[in-house]
């Protein structure tokens, strides 16, 4: 019986998990942190501190800016120096709260001991409120506010909670180390999520290239005695950890275009999010740090670091010896879906998962040649799209045809670009085309809303 995997497409890059043996180490505090107010999907948060204010670790420094938004807490103790625009990793200006670090004083209510708290509070509403107040967002990279995901709209019912421990991106090992070193906390977090969604079955999905993690988590589940939580071993394939693909693999159900996973009864949370949920609910600790893998073949010292949110990238890199000679590209995230860093002075966000160094040979694009209509991109696309067609339509700016060919379903995983023998930058074009379609959809929705309101009057 083959291991479970998703039904369409996918590619099989080498997993390059060269940092898998690196234990998680906390990074020494930087002298200044810059905490962005736009670290999640939804409305940016509104700062509620001013220059000169003294803050402690875990103190609220920004309030949610809307329904889909999140609290932001200070990850250090010190004095607020400024609240103003600062360039992110792509050079775009976003409001950041600059805090000069003084000491490491935490808010009193946070439990900093190591004891495992296995007793889960019974009040689900209180749990969700705690998650909301802790500013927890999806740590798989999408940074969707968790409390919103855990409050499904009326009429939809959750049938399974899936904890995503696949970590299908090459090079990344932070989730793997969390599973090995903080597995118990992760399992308790999974149990909390399971209870909150109505005591539904819970699956912790882990790719087959992490056998130690699979074994360890199975032991932990048996030891802690939780019923209804199982580990499912997944086939090593990219993008196994993509939300829609994982639901397809685990539950054999496909989330429709434009629909949410809850529409097929699934709630997917990353391993890091489960850990954060444990820390928030059982230890009153808000989301103020996360594990980052710093890696790359040309990087002499591999590491998995526990980094406070808002730490400048340059500080992290310099503490480990600086940017290596042969590195020409620094990526925030993995090589498939990560973003190239154009500004090393930018700071980490809640969703930052890795810093990857790539050499010229690894990353220089080969010159583009004509599309030979081989169809390899269509074979590789996990969403069943036709990238060769989408890129042509995107170059022609044909929004209608793009929508008809489902450009909006693209999850930007990069499988098409990876498989193209002609080295065509497929994803670059499809992203642009997706932008056209999303604007058109939004414009239509706005017009429909306006028409509905006008009809009401």
């Amino acid at each position: 019986m083959g291991k479970r995997t998703f039904s369409l497409g996918g590619v099989h890059p080498h997993d390059n998990k060269i940092s898998r043996e690196c234990r998680i180490e906390p990074l020494a505090l930087a002298p200044t942190v810059y905490i962005s107010v736009a670290q999640h999907i939804g409305a940016p948060s509104v700062p509620c501190v001013a220059p000169g204010d003294k803050v402690k670790v875990g103190q609220v420094i920004a309030q949610p800016g809307g329904f889909v938004s999140a609290f932001i807490h200070s990850s250090v103790s010190g004095t607020v120096k400024s609240v103003g625009p600062r360039a992110d990793l792509a050079g775009r200006p976003f409001t950041h709260i600059e805090i000069a670090v003084e000491g490491d004083e935490w808010m009193e209510e946070i439990d900093r001991t190591d004891t495992l708290v296995t007793e889960i509070p019974a009040d689900n509403k209180a749990i969700i409120e705690k998650i909301r107040l802790a500013g927890i967002v999806g740590l798989g990279g999408a940074t969707f506010p968790t409390h919103v995901k855990l409050s499904p709209p009326p009429g939809s019912k959750c049938e399974r909670v899936i904890i995503n421990g696949c970590e299908c991106e090459p090079y990344l090992t932070s989730d793997y180390r969390v599973l090995l070193e903080k597995g118990e906390q992760v399992v308790v977090g999974a149990a909390i999520l399971k209870q909150v969604m109505g005591n539904v079955p819970c699956t912790i999905a882990i790719e087959e290239n992490k056998p130690e993690a699979i074994a360890h988590i199975r032991e932990v589940i048996a030891k802690l005695g939780y019923a209804g939580i199982e580990v499912m071993e997944m086939k090593m394939m990219y993008p196994q950890g993509g939300e829609k693909q994982l639901i397809d693999a685990v539950m054999r159900r496909q989330v429709g275009s434009g629909a949410l996973p809850i529409s097929v009864g699934a709630v997917v949370q990353n391993v890091g999010t489960a850990l954060a949920v444990y820390e928030a609910v059982q230890k009153n600790k808000p989301l103020i740090d996360n594990t980052i893998t710093v890696t790359g073949e040309c990087f002499p010292k591999q590491a998995n670091l526990l980094v406070r949110v808002g730490t400048p990238l340059r500080y992290i890199i310099d503490s480990l010896g600086g940017v290596p000679e042969e590195a020409v590209k620094v990526i925030s995230g993995g090589p498939m879906m990560g973003r190239a860093v154009a500004n090393l002075d930018s700071a980490t966000l809640k969703g930052t998962g890795a810093i990857l160094f790539l050499t010229e040979k690894q990353t220089r694009r080969a010159p583009e040649t004509n599309c030979i209509r081989c169809g390899k991109c269509a074979d590789a696309c996990p969403m069943g799209l036709e990238p060769f067609l989408l890129q042509k339509l995107s170059r022609a700016k044909d929004t209608e045809a793009l929508e008809a060919n489902a450009a909006q379903d693209c999850i930007e995983c990069g499988c098409c670009l990876y498989s193209c023998p002609a080295h065509i930058p497929l994803l670059d074009h499809i992203r642009v085309g997706k932008g056209f379609v999303m604007s058109a959809i939004r414009a239509r929705a706005a017009a429909a809303k306006a028409a509905a309101e006008a009809a009401k009057k």
Binding site: G91, V328, D428
Partner: protein, 303 residues
């Protein structure tokens, strides 16, 4: 043998006549009635089908012009005033002559003045680049240099200058159709009036960052110091969000702003003589002195 020939000729002749009749009747029955003036207007149009008028081609413009009550909203930038006069004559409308416009590239971030801070290895298109990040220089507002504007121009009026990395507009070919303006994702290109004898002044920068930040990224940036606005005696310059802007309607081409600009961000084109900065500055100081003296006399009078 002759029989065959005669029969062949006869049958083919009859067939020809019958088919011609059918074609004639069909053409008559399915004929679309159109205002004949549309054809007349279309004849005088330049026929470039560039879309600069806002319509899908010259014929669409002709249709719209015939249907419209006046020619206020219909202007062909390629044909210019000549063509519009002809169209007005055909339709019996009046048309005001519009000042001819030209595309202006408001960025002077050359390779020398605006050094690169990273290298872009993606698809060579300004649109794609802008979608990804703010560009390979320290200035997040300026020209991205991939030439989407050059590709958009149907008249061959734009070309990339390899020495500066910026697009150059050929005034003789530019028809002010606006395609390049739409193509530029950073809104660097603007349509401005050509000006008397082609002379015009403009601020060659679109950077809205604070002065020191802008200057660090590009030596030719507008730092928003406001000196130009203070000097201008025609109230043509406004400074908004650290960026100066010259209103072409009010500008009288005195070039004083250009002389006082500390970074050289203000450009004057097609002037017959090169700008003598010292002379202009002296003139400005003279004027200020006179104004101060006049004010002193006034206050003295009031005392």
């Amino acid at each position: 043998m002759t029989n065959t020939i005669i029969w062949t000729i006869a049958i083919i002749t009859v067939l020809g006549v019958v088919l011609a009749l059918v074609l004639y009747l069909v053409a008559k029955k399915f004929k679309v009635e159109e205002d004949p003036r549309i054809d007349e207007v279309e004849k005088v149009m330049p026929g470039a089908n560039c879309g600069g008028c806002g319509f899908a081609g010259c014929r669409a413009f002709a249709e719209a012009a015939v249907k419209a009550p006046n020619l206020d909203n219909n202007f062909c930038p390629v044909g210019g005033n000549d063509v519009m006069a002809k169209v007005a004559a055909i339709l019996g409308y009046e048309v005001k002559a519009k000042a001819p416009q030209v595309a202006v590239v408001r960025c002077n971030g050359t390779c020398e003045a605006r050094p690169r801070v990273n290298e872009y290895d993606g698809f060579s298109s300004c649109f794609v680049k802008a979608n990804l990040y703010t560009g390979d220089t320290g200035c997040s507002y300026g020209c991205l240099g991939c030439g989407d504007c050059v590709g958009a121009c149907q008249f061959g009026a734009l070309s990339m200058d390899p020495a500066t990395g910026l697009p150059v507009v050929d005034e003789t070919k530019c028809t002010a159709c606006g395609a390049c303006v739409k193509a530029c994702p950073k809104r660097v290109i603007e349509l401005r009036p050509k000006g008397p004898r082609g002379m015009r002044e403009y601020v060659s920068c679109v950077n809205k960052e604070k002065g020191p930040v802008a200057k660090k990224a590009c030596a030719n940036a507008c730092i928003g110091c406001g000196l130009c606005a203070k000097t201008c005696t025609h109230e043509a310059i406004t400074v908004d969000a650290n960026l100066a802007y010259i209103d072409p309607a009010k500008c009288k081409l005195c070039r004083e702003c250009e002389a006082v600009c500390p970074t050289g961000a203000i450009h004057g084109v097609n002037f017959p003589k090169p700008l003598d900065k010292d002379a202009v500055k002296a003139r400005i100081n003279e004027r200020k002195k006179k104004a101060a003296e006049a004010k002193a006399v006034e206050t003295k009078k009031e005392d």
